[in-house]
Amino acid sequence: MNSPGMTSARTKPAPLNKKDTRETPDLSVEIAGYRFKNPIWTASGTCGYGEELDTVFDLNRLGAIVTKSITRQPRPGHPPPRCSEESGGMLNAIGLANVGVDNYIAEKLSFLDGYRIGVIVNVAGFSFQEYIEVCSMLADCPRADMIELNISCPNISSGGIEFGDNAKEVERVVSAVKKVFPRPIIPKLSPNVTDIAEIARGAEAGGADAISLINTLIGMTVNIETRRPTLSNNRGGLSGPAIKPIALSMVNRVYESVRVPVIGIGGAMNCRDVIEFMLCGASAVQLGTALFLQPDLPVIVERELKKYLKKQKLDTVTELIGKLEKY
């Protein structure tokens, strides 16, 4: 595996005999046969394609970046207002605005070439065909270390029901893209379901190498002066600290329901939150909305995570994963 900053473990995990030369505490985590220098990632749609964030801190400090969802064709996204400020969070209906996979490969992916971080390309689609096309185009891009599959998209051909709402559909789409993309696939689950564990098992059955969750919760608010929704799309996705308890609960459910690694997402605002996610079972944690408020948060979390591990006398961050002591 030739992506800089990561050690392939397709054949077998890289020999860890250099353990003594590693920093203590060791923040690195292994996911789907790859070693990431730390479990602090950025979430799709909250870090663009990386350029802007790199002006705030050196992206090399990240374990991985998950880039904004891309689709087959460029999409302008929804008209404004696209976002609305809420108690403890925000609603967004950006509308999957993105440059399209061609431009992404030509212009955006190359920007990340020089960085020694994991590059996880988030892919969205409105049909099976679209997912397959985009993923197969990425197959030949070595810098696309993994794909995160955004399945919180309406499946146009099945009447607009979201892919992520149904375990069988999730299994089908995951196994389809597994055939065209040779590296790990991480389906990203929607929280707007009755039984997240069932969906996760569907993803695993389809061949998911890891599972990330949660995407945003469907929400709406109203401007009582104009009587209109606060978003042009009427509904949007709720993110931020408001959803953290929901995310933690779902991460823990999924951790207990599948064998593949889990990536935690949802309202993490500081190092304590990252630790909560890891204790609930996350092998890595994506910072999302928090980046809007504190763009250099990943660097701060890295520093505080080391402090916490030292205080807890733990040598490696992996000792946190799933170590919740339930009642």
Partner: protein
């Protein structure tokens, strides 16, 4: 890309302007010297009352003390929290952000059109130009509000020596009527425009910007509009602050703006 500075700054000065307007100074801000009118800072609090940061146009800089001034009107949670800051208390400045106004030619007449609390970046623009040797007489400062109360900071504007043309909707100060009507009359009156061509600079509520955009087209006058929009991030990563473009698609107010040429936006 230019680095975005995330910086702890402290309240250094505070002046109450009238009608709930405040002038606040913050420092030290290392990059103060290179800040240009039209740019803004995105302000974060340690214990924020609101969820988003709040964006404020830079209303002035003190390059010696490396301080930044903002002018705000107390409206809701963010501006309230700023108004409650005590001397020496800190906030986080993300900035300077956004693209500044493009300065006019020295012989052009700058028609600055301010609506309400849109005046701070224009005040800064005027000061900035004058410091750089522009003739204050080539600056016309249109400043509109609902009533006399809304036209704050008059002394500082007058002191610049610019032509000050206020208007209020109830006629309690300056001309009676919309400030854009005054602008239009100005542009229609032969001779008033001074020797060179005109360039319009506008900042204010949506209606004002729309009207200015139309007037600029009508009089074939170049212009620049400084926009506002709710800004989740302020530096281009969320795509939340967009404005539709005439050419189709959208532009981010925080990144491609907040200053846009007239005639480019689908307002």
């Amino acid at each position: 890309m230019k680095p975005i500075i995330s910086h702890e700054v402290f309240l250094t000065s505070r002046r109450d302007l009238k009608n709930d307007h405040l002038l606040l100074g913050f420092g030290p801000f290392p990059g103060a010297a290179s800040i240009k009118p039209g740019q803004f800072v995105h302000i974060g609090f340690r214990n924020p009352l609101a969820f988003y940061r709040r964006a404020f146009s830079i209303a002035g800089v003190n390059t010696v003390k490396r301080e930044i001034e903002i002018i705000l009107k107390v409206i809701g949670r963010g501006s309230y929290q700023l108004s409650q800051l005590r001397a020496g208390e800190g906030v986080n400045f993300l900035g300077p952000l956004g693209n500044p106004f493009v300065l006019p030619g020295k012989r052009q007449t700058a028609l600055m059109v301010a609506g309400g609390v849109g005046y701070p970046p224009l005040l800064f623009l005027a000061m900035h130009m004058i410091e750089r040797g522009y003739d204050p007489k080539n600056i016309v400062f249109f400043y509109g509000g609902r009533s006399s109360e809304d036209i704050v900071d008059r002394a500082r504007i007058r002191k610049l020596g610019v032509r000050f043309l206020p208007a209020t909707q109830n006629g309690s100060f300056g001309e009676r009527g919309m400030i854009t009507a005054l602008l239009k009359r100005f542009l229609s009156t032969p001779g008033t425009a001074g020797s060179g061509e005109n360039v319009i600079f506008a900042c204010g509520p949506e209606g004002l910007l729309e009207a200015v955009d139309r007037i600029a087209a009508e009089f074939e006058t170049p212009g620049q509009l400084a926009l506002e929009a709710p800004m989740p991030c302020g530096f281009g990563i969320c795509l939340g602050c967009v404005v539709p473009l005439k050419s189709g698609g959208f532009a981010r107010v925080c990144k491609e703006g907040p200053v846009f040429d007239t005639g480019t936006l689908a307002l």
